[in-house]
Every structure is written in C-alpha cells, then in structure tokens.
Symmetry: C2
Subunit: 100 residues, 2 copies
DNA sequence: AGACTGTATATCAGAATTGATATAAGTCCA
DNA sequence: TGGACTTATATCAATTCTGATATACAGTCT
C-alpha cells in the first residue's frame, strides 16, 4: 500500500502538474489508473529500448520521430498520447494484450 | 487462421480506408496489431455499455462527450484515439491490465 | 579543462483529435 | 403510416498532439 503523499510526489516528479492536495484528491480512480497505465507503458518503453541497446536517437529514427519526443515518451509526459506509446512498443515487437 | 481478404474486408467495414491490396499488404505487423487493439477496445466498449443498459446518449453524458462520438468510438473509427477509448473503458470501471 | 555521447527541456507550426451540431437512417410499436 | 427512440454519418472550430529544432544538462574519457 502506497501513501497518497508518496503517490503524489511520484506523479509530480513525472511532470503531472498537480497544484494542491485538493486537486490531487480530485483525480478520479479512472484518471489515476490512466496515469498509472501511461507511466507503466513509458517505463516499459525505456526498458525495451535499453534491452535492444538503442540510444533514444536511434529509436527515434526507427519510430520516425525525434530524440526529444522519445525522451518525453519515456517520461510518460502528459503531452504524449497512449497511441504514441503503444505504437512505439508495437514497433519494438512488444505485444500488449489487454486483459480484463 | 483468418485469410487476408477476409481480414481486409473486416477492416474496411470498420472504416479503415485501404485502397488496394498492395496498400493493405503494406500494413506492417505492428500497424495491424494496433488496428486490432483498437477494434477490440471498441467492441469492448460497446459490450460494456450494453451490459450497463445505457444508450449512447447517456454514456456520452457520463463521458462528457456527444452521442455521435460514442458511435465513432464503438466503431473503432480511425479518427478516435486509443486514449479516448481507454479513458471511456476506465470510466466504466473496466480495468485493462497490460500484460506481456 | 575540453571534446564527445546520450538524455532532458523549451518552443512552435502543422497535423490530428475533440465535442458539438445537424441530420439521416434504422427499429419498434400502436 | 407515423411517431418515439436509438444509432450512424457529415462537418467544423477549438483544442491537443506531433515532429522538428535549438539548446541545456549529465556523464565519460584523455
């Protein structure tokens, strides 16, 4: 079990702007899960890239995007869509199955 | 095992414009998987809504969007993002876990 | 220190997605 | 047939996302 303050810090560190404690608590469970999913995918992308021994620059070329965007993806930045993350993972051969 | 022509029909019916057989075959495995994921989520959304005995109109209200967009989502229309689909499912309490 | 490699941050114009609206089409029942 | 209800399609302005560029930061080596 992870405390709320701790979780908040984790999210803020990841670039999710959360103004006040009230704002944070206003995150619905669905929103929290969405953010967590994104961070999980982001982490997975980073891991996968390392496993393939690629630099962000090289991965960017493979994905036909730029190194800065890859950096954003690996942070799970709010400005990056799930689509982009999923496409990247699929391109790397990772096959996410959606289970209940 | 599903034939290529059959699969193509399925995708075209779902609104994915695929001009020629050559174009279709040009879909990379990653792209195919992406489309299939989307259609799976779309179908899942439709099922879930029905299970909750909601009209598209009512679901739209819950999701703070419009009935026409819900229709698009349930078709897995190319103009609908994974984000939107996932958010919708999460809002309905479906909790997709990403497994290997 | 300086050069080099890899990653992070800021900004922005162009592209894609969004909710909304209007309206058509399908379904059921009296 | 016609109305009530539900879903589908078309269009569009506003928002969001994207790739690109410039540049900063961090680590390693000589």
């Amino acid at each position: 079990m992870i405390g709320k303050t701790e979780k908040r810090k984790k999210l803020e560190k990841a670039g999710w702007r959360i103004g006040s404690a009230a704002d944070f608590l206003a995150l619905t469970p669905a929103e929290e899960r969405y953010v967590e999913m994104k961070l999980a995918l982001a982490h997975r992308l980073s891991e996968t890239r390392r496993r393939h021994r690629l630099t962000q620059e090289k991965l960017a070329t493979v994905l036909k995007t730029s190194q800065p965007r890859v950096a954003m993806m690996e942070k799970g930045d709010p400005s990056v869509s799930l689509d982009l993350l999923v496409r990247a993972l699929l391109a790397l051969g990772v096959t996410p199955r959606l289970t209940n």
